[in-house]
C-alpha cells in the first residue's frame, strides 16, 4: 500500500488544456473519489496516475518515488475499467492470473492468489467460464478480482459501475466499500455519480473544468460546500439557488431578489452591502410550518415512496422542497414555509462561499 502525491499537474492534448494545475496528497490506505461532470478532467487525471497518458507538467509520486517516466507495467498499480476490459479469449481464472503469468510467478503462487481473490468475490463457480458467458455484475467482479490478485500499491477505478443497472450498482457499491474495509488498499475512484462519491469516499475531490474545486470528507462537502459548483453538485435533489443583492441595513442583512422579495440572511464577512450574491438552501432543509414567513404555491408533487419532492413557487421564484411529511398536498394549494438561517449558504458574485465573521 502506498501514498500518492500529485504536484502541480497540468495536462494538454496538443494545444487544448484539460488540467490546469492539480495538487493532491493521498494517504496510504485512503479511498479517494474524484467526482465531477463529464469533461472535468477526472478520468484524464486517473489515467495519468496509471501511466496511460503523458504528463504535460508536474509530478506524480507513488510512495515518494517520481513515476512520470515509468511505464504502466512498472508502477505496480491495478485498474478497473468502465468496460471491464476482460480478455475475451481467456477464462476467468486466466484473466485473473495473467499479470502473475507475465511475471513468471510459480504455479502454486498463482493458484493461491487466484483462489484467494475468487473466494473474496464469490467467483469460485465461474473460474472456467469465458467473459461472454458472464453477466455485467459478474464481469465487474472479475475485473476487480484481476486487480486484487496483483496486490498492487494502489487501486484505480474508472467509473466501474456506470454500465450497470441501478439495483446492481447499489449492490456493487456496498461490495466495493466492504472490500476496501477488508483490504485497506489505497484507492482512487472516478465517477460522475455524487451518490457513489458520498457513500464510498474517505475524502472527495470535486473537480470542474480541469481544476479541483474542493477536497474534503463527504460531510464536509455536504455541510460546507466551498463554491456554487460543489453546492449544486453534491446532494440529491440539488440545492435551491436564489440570486440577488446582499443588502445590509442596521443589524439586518437580507438578500433582495430581482422581484423585490427580501429573504433574511446572516451577516457575512468579506462582502459589501449592495454586492451581488447567491443564496443556497437544500430542499431537505426547507421547513414547512403553519406560521412560516413565506407563502408558497404548490406546482408539482413527486412522490418517491420514502418522501415527497415538492416543486413550489414563492413570489414566482421556483423552489424544491424535500419532506418526509406525507401531507396530502395537491398542485394549486398553498403552504407556508420557512428558510432557517442556520441552513442557509451564501455565495459571493464569484461563486465562493461566504462565512460569518469570526466571533
Amino acid at each position: 500500500m502506498a501514498s500518492i502525491d500529485i504536484e502541480g499537474i497540468r495536462k494538454s492534448f496538443g494545444a487544448f488544456p484539460v488540467l490546469h494545475g492539480v495538487d493532491l496528497t493521498i494517504r496510504d490506505g485512503e479511498f479517494i473519489v474524484l467526482v465531477g461532470p463529464s469533461g472535468c478532467g477526472k478520468s484524464t487525471l486517473l489515467r495519468m496516475i496509471a501511466g496511460l497518458e503523458e504528463v504535460t507538467a508536474g509530478d506524480i509520486r507513488i510512495d515518494g518515488k517520481r513515476v512520470n517516466d515509468l511505464a504502466p507495467k512498472d508502477r505496480d498499480i491495478a485498474m478497473v475499467f468502465q468496460s471491464y476490459a476482460l480478455y475475451p479469449h481467456m477464462s476467468v481464472a486466466d484473466n485473473m492470473s495473467y499479470s502473475l503469468r507475465l511475471r513468471r510467478s510459480t504455479k502454486e503462487k498463482i493458484a493461491s492468489a487466484v483462489s484467494g481473490a475468487a473466494a473474496k468475490l464469490g467467483l469460485d463457480p465461474l473460474l472456467e467460464r469465458r467473459p461472454r458467458a458472464l453477466s455485467g455484475g459478474q464481469r465487474q467482479r472479475v475485473a476487480m478480482g484481476r486487480a486484487i490478485v496483483r496486490q498492487p500499491k494502489a487501486f484505480l477505478f474508472d467509473e466501474p459501475l456506470s454500465n450497470l443497472d441501478a439495483r446492481l450498482r447499489e449492490q456493487m457499491r456496498a461490495e466495493i466499500k466492504k472490500l476496501h474495509g477488508d483490504l485497506r488498499a489505497t484507492s482512487i475512484y472516478v465517477t460522475h455519480d455524487q451518490i457513489e462519491a458520498m457513500t464510498l469516499a474517505d475524502r472527495i475531490v470535486a473537480m470542474h473544468g480541469g481544476v479541483v474545486q474542493q477536497v474534503g470528507s463527504p460531510l464536509d462537502l455536504y455541510d460546507r460546500p466551498a463554491n456554487l459548483f460543489v453546492a449544486g453538485f453534491i446532494g440529491s435533489p440539488g440545492m435551491n439557488f436564489f440570486e440577488g443583492r446582499y443588502i445590509v441595513s442596521g443589524d439586518r442583512a437580507d438578500l433582495r431578489l430581482a422581484n423585490g422579495v427580501m429573504l433574511p440572511v446572516r451577516r457575512m464577512a468579506g462582502i459589501e452591502s449592495g454586492a451581488a450574491a447567491t443564496l443556497g438552501i437544500r430542499p431537505e432543509h426547507v421547513a414547512i410550518a403553519g406560521g412560516g414567513a413565506l407563502e408558497a404555491k404548490v406546482d408539482l408533487i413527486e412522490p418517491t415512496g420514502f418522501g415527497i419532492i415538492m416543486h413550489v413557487s414563492v413570489h414566482d421564484v421556483p423552489l424544491k422542497i424535500f419532506t418526509l411529511d406525507r401531507a396530502m398536498l395537491t398542485p394549486g394549494a398553498t403552504v407556508r414555509i420557512d428558510l432557517p438561517q442556520e441552513s442557509l449558504h451564501l455565495f459571493d458574485e464569484e461563486g465562493r462561499r461566504l462565512d460569518r465573521p469570526p466571533a
Binding site: 502525491d5 504536484e7 502541480g8 497540468r10 494545475g21 495538487d23 493532491l24 496528497t25 503523458e54 504528463v55 504535460t56 507538467a57 508536474g58 509530478d59 512520470n68 517516466d69
Partner: protein, 307 residues
Amino acid sequence: MTHAAYHPATRPFRKRFADAAEPYLYSAPALILIVAVMLVPLVLGISYAFRDIQLLNPFSGGFIGLDHFRALGQDQAFFRALRNTLWWTGASVFLQFVFGLILALLLDKPFAGRGLAQALCFLPWAVPSFLAGLNWAWLFNPVIGPLPHWMYAFGILDAPNNILSDPQLAMWGPIIANVWWGIPFFAITLLAALQAIPRDLYEAASIDGAGPVQRFVSITLPFLAPTIAITILLRTVWISNFADLIVVMTNGGPADRTQIVASYIFTQAFKRLDFGYASAIALVLLVLLLVYSLLIVLLRQTLLNKD
C-alpha cells in the same frame, strides 16, 4: 499541500526516442518494401519516358527528350485506345454498379439460404481474372461456346459469329466478362454499407407512412451515398487500368479495336520491348489520372463547402 514550481515534464531522451520510434518500427518493413518495389520503379519509369530503352538493343538508353511524346501525338492507335478506355470504363462501372446494387439490396434482408446464395453470387470474384477472360472467350467462341448460337437464336446476331472478331462488337466481350467478374465487389461493399444502416430508421419511416420506394429514396440512398461515391471513384480508376481481361480475350484486337491505354502500354512493353515508348504512354496515363483525381477532390471540396 505542497506546490511544486511549474516546470515542463522532462523525460529521459532514450525513453522519448523509444516511444516515438515504436510506431515506425511496426510499419517499417511494409514501408521499405513499398518504397523499394513501387516508388523507386515509378520514378525510374518516369525517367524512361525521356530515354530510348529498347530491351533488345544493348546500346539503347540514351536521353531523347520529348521524342516519345512527339511520336505519341501522331499515334492513332493511342488516341483510339484513349476512346476505348472511356467506353470500357464507363460501361463496366455503370453495369457493375447497377447490378451490384440490386444484388446487395436482394441480399440485405435475411431469408432462408441467404448464406449459400451470398457465397455463390460472390464466387465470380474468386475466379482468377485471366481465367474469367479465357472462360468468357470460350463462351463466345462458336466452336465450343453456346453464346453465339443463343444470340443468333434470339436474333441479336444474324449469324452465330464470335463477337470477339467483330470490330464493332468486340469490346462487349471483355465488358461482359468484367461485369460478371466485378459485380461481387460492388455487391460486397454496398452490402456492408447497407447492413450498417440502423434498422430503427426504416421502422420509424414505416410508422410515419413511407412505402418501400420512399424508404429507399429517403433513407437508403442518403446513407449509401458516401460509400457509392468512394466505391465508384476508386473502381473507375482501377477499371480504367485493368488490362488483364483485354489482353487475354482479344489482345487488343481485332486491329487494335479493343485496345485500352493500359493494355497498349503492356503490348508496347511486352511485345515490342520498347520500354521507353511504353513508359511515355504510362506517364501520360498517370498525368490523366492525377488530373481526374484532382477534379474529384475539387468537386468534393465545392460540395462540402456548399453545405
